[in-house]
């Protein structure tokens, strides 16, 4: 694998020069040298048409979402055409040998931001992912009450990790913008850091800007990149900080002795920020750094100086201290998820539980993923698997003396292990979360495989387009695997009619609560509760802790239910007859003509009517709110 136009960073862009250069004379000479050095010009010849294609691709994606919001049911092919239009020219250019490192960096940044725009276009002008509503509520609470660590009724662990909401509060407080605007801007900036750090990390480890560019492009094909990983949620900020940490560590490893301490500072700062931002990423950081330390020891047989073990210890101790001192509820939050995943895997292996069918929906009313889409996602996984041996061989040949490369190789293989977790329902989420971290290694390995294929003597004119097409398949297939097919496009949540804007029934409920209910806690179905948090601004409980789900869903009230509401200070009960109200992905929108709307029996609402002192204070037909007043 020869060095390309980007050059080897070890040689071409020596990280820190002349750390001890002290005298004014020497500095003046250095300044003169810099001034006389010919400046590289960024080749914009390719960037210009690529930017046009990106803009047109985004326009097509936005159009597909607009048609879907208008309930016109556009073909998903329009959306995918937009994605391909924005991504394929970038992929193709990244395969070129003559592109410079700055151009490749600009291309991957353009790719990362464009794909983020696709997510924003789906949701504008409000958050619609359930985690986003939870975090936006926390941000609004900080903004309104000026303090962190306030209660969250849906996900009580989130206020214990206030990094994301704290950062959003800076924009909200200083500029007065909403949590939506602050969140969209913040995550957009974080995405930029993610993709640029990934590029610089891969560039440092491989010494090739081509591997770095292709690796970063392949990373966009991870299952969560397009939607889940782009939401306003704590992991969306913590993961870019983890990649920044890894990039700084890679630079530190290659830096001259005098610069080791300098590179430690950004690493420590980023680790501290990760710890206060997201539980899983902080533990992943500690594990990654520990693995890197072992890899370093394996290669160099030393624990001295460049071995990053002190950072692993720092990360682990800080995460542990935060867990004990601030976020003890994390144990209760994460342990059932992990226990269930482990138990489910064991039960599936011994044959006690049937494996989960892939692309199987949780409800019969959800349309199945089309066969063609399923085939595409299987093809994407097959391509990833097919490239793995070639990438690992290159890794072994070229980079086996590099601790980072060893780590990437292990992660690449482990990624395919997490695919097996998708076969058991309780382990699905664990596998899905892990894949986002492990895909970093896989992307590097496959970047090596791509460059190996491009540099072979037999590589013909078709090699570049074929590789670009393969990465496009990975992007599309990965996105299909990571997000339900029927929810790829925006749905009608606010529609324009007669010159006015009309909100969907659940959003209308939230807006009524925002304007007409000064105080009081709500119990509601999960989708309604999310909107009651934001934009409703109300404390709303959902689910089984406390068990308001049964209070809402059962056809008769039983003895323990009213005391439960009273104990939790719940004054308003929002009863939603729509089955979809318990779906945090689909429960926010208008029902459409010709669509089969599954309704709960009328008695789930009418059971509250005879309660003494109860008021039926709001209804929009589908959702009715009862006030359990002081007379109850």
């Amino acid at each position: 694998m020869r060095s390309d136009a980007g050059g080897n960073p070890t040689a071409a862009t020596a990280t820190v020069k002349g750390m001890e250069a002290g005298t004014a004379r020497r500095s003046a000479l250095a300044k003169k040298r810099v001034a006389s050095r010919p400046r590289k010009r960024l080749k914009v010849g390719h960037l210009a048409p690529i930017l046009l294609a990106t803009g047109l691709g985004l326009l097509v994606c936005s159009l597909a979402n607009t048609l879907s919001r208008a309930a016109l049911e556009p073909t998903p092919l329009l959306f995918w055409a937009g994605i391909l239009l924005l991504a394929v020219p970038i992929f193709h250019r990244l395969t070129a040998e003559d592109a410079s490192a700055p151009e490749r960096l600009a291309l991957v940044c353009l790719l990362g931001l464009s794909l983020y725009c696709v997510k924003v276009f789906r949701d504008a002008p409000t958050f619609t992912f359930s985690d986003e509503l939870v975090h936006a509520f926390n941000a609004n609470q900080i903004s309104a009450h000026h303090h962190l660590f306030r209660e969250n009724p849906i996900l009580d662990v989130t206020p214990s990790f206030p990094g994301l909401e704290g950062a959003a509060s800076a924009l909200m407080k200083m500029t007065g913008v909403s949590s939506f605007v602050a969140g969209v801007v913040l995550i957009g900036v974080a995405r930029l850091v993610l993709i640029a750090s990934l590029f610089l990390l891969f560039h440092r480890v491989s010494g090739s800007a081509r591997v770095a560019g292709l690796g970063a492009a392949i990373y966009t094909g991870n299952f969560n990149f397009l939607y889940w990983g782009a939401q306003f949620s704590y992991e969306s900020l913590a993961l870019p900080l983890l990649l920044l940490t890894m990039m700084a560590l890679a630079e530190r490893e290659a830096a001259p002795k005098q610069a080791l301490r300098a590179w430690a500072a950004p690493v420590l700062l980023a680790i501290a920020a990760i710890v206060v931002t997201h539980h899983l990423t902080s533990y992943a950081t500690a594990v990654t750094l520990a693995a890197l330390s072992l890899a370093y020891w394996y290669v160099h047989r030393t624990w001295q100086r460049r071995n990053p073990w002190p950072f692993a210890v720092f990360g682990a101790l800080l995460a542990l201290a935060w867990l004990i001192a601030v976020a003890s509820s994390t144990v209760g939050y994460l342990s059932p998820v992990i226990n269930n995943a482990v138990n489910a895997v064991v039960h599936t292996i011994v044959g006690e539980d049937a494996p989960r069918g892939l692309f199987e929906s949780s409800s019969p009313t959800i349309p199945p993923t089309p066969l063609g889409a399923k085939a595409f996602s299987f093809l994407a996984v097959a391509l990833l698997a097919a490239g793995l041996p070639f990438g690992l061989r290159e890794l072994w040949r070229r980079f086996r003396r590099q601790p980072f490369a060893i780590l990437f190789g292990i992660a690449a293989v482990a990624f395919f292990g997490t695919l097996a977790l998708r076969l058991t329902p309780p382990a699905w989420e664990t596998g899905n979360r892990l894949s986002e971290f492990l895909f970093i290694g896989l992307a590097f390995v496959l970047g090596c495989a791509c460059v190996w294929a491009l540099s072979r003597r037999l590589a013909g004119a078709a090699t570049r387009p074929l590789i670009a097409a393969a990465i496009a398949v990975v992007l599309v297939g990965g996105s299909i695997s990571g997000w339900p097919w029927d929810s790829l496009l925006a749905q009608p949540m606010q529609i324009s009619t007669d010159g006015r804007t009309v909100s969907s029934p659940p959003l209308a409920l939230a807006e009524w609560a925002q304007h007409e209910v000064p105080e009081g806690r709500f119990a509601a179905a999960t989708a309604d509760a999310g909107l009651l948090l934001v934009p409703g601004g109300k404390t709303a409980f959902a689910g089984t802790s406390p068990d308001v789900e049964d209070v809402l869903d059962e056809e008769k009230l039983v003895g323990w239910e009213l005391p439960l509401l009273r104990r939790n200070g719940i004054r308003y009960v929002a009863v939603d007859r729509r089955e979809v109200a318990s779906d945090t992905l689909r429960g926010y929108y208008f029902a459409k003509r010709g669509e089969e709307l599954q309704l709960r029996p009328k008695s789930v609402v009418s059971k509250f009517n005879p309660l003494p002192g109860v008021s039926r204070v709001y209804t929009n037909g589908l959702i009715t709110v009862f006030e359990l007043g002081p007379q109850r």
Partner: protein, 255 residues
Amino acid sequence: MKGHKDLRLACLLAVASAVLTLILPWGPLCLVVALPLVFFLPGYALAAAIFARGRIPMRHLLVLSIGLSLAVLALGALVLNYLPGGVRAGWWALLLVIVVVAAARAAAIRRPSRRAAPSPSWKPRLNPAQAVLFAGGALAIVVAIVLAFIPVGAKDALGYTQMWIKPLEGERTGVEIGVGSGEQEEASYRLWVKFGDGEPPQGRYFKLSPGETHVVRLLTEKQPAAAEQIRAALFKQSQPDHAYRRVSTWITPTS
């Protein structure tokens, strides 16, 4: 900071950005002004201080500037949380300016004097054709964003009517009833309200266009002696015998 143009500029920009952000009246404009202070300058100043004795490539400096700014934001809220008054706009602006100025000062002390400020190692140059392509791409992106944020009509979305009720506050005894139309077409309604026993029901007729809201305040003819349930029903003119929406509340002599 004499001789370090970049650091001086960073400090000036930070102060100007903080002041303007706090005094400008319009959110979107404040956002534009605040962006460098929030997402770039703290990280830039920190990176300048950390790497004062050496050089790092421009692309690393840019990524560190943005990345470290994010870290400052995530950790900064923790610091502000324990200040008097907590997380407030003024504290945020002050904290970010302090980080920029302190780190820039540290960089100026550590950095060898007369060293050239970091500058981009490449400069893009566009010919007219490329400029047109760039402009076309940028225009397409702007149109895409505008399209995404504009509500559009959806004829196949099922409309609805919402209705709510609440007791009047203050000395007068009665209720406020709101009816909001989320229907796709204009609709005519009849409102029927029943106060306590002995009072005749009250009624109202009105039409609502889509997205329009009608709020009525109705008073009792006599003060209730005890808590009294008020019931209201809404009828659509197209279905006069079928109560389309029903709400109720309680009024007390004191409510």
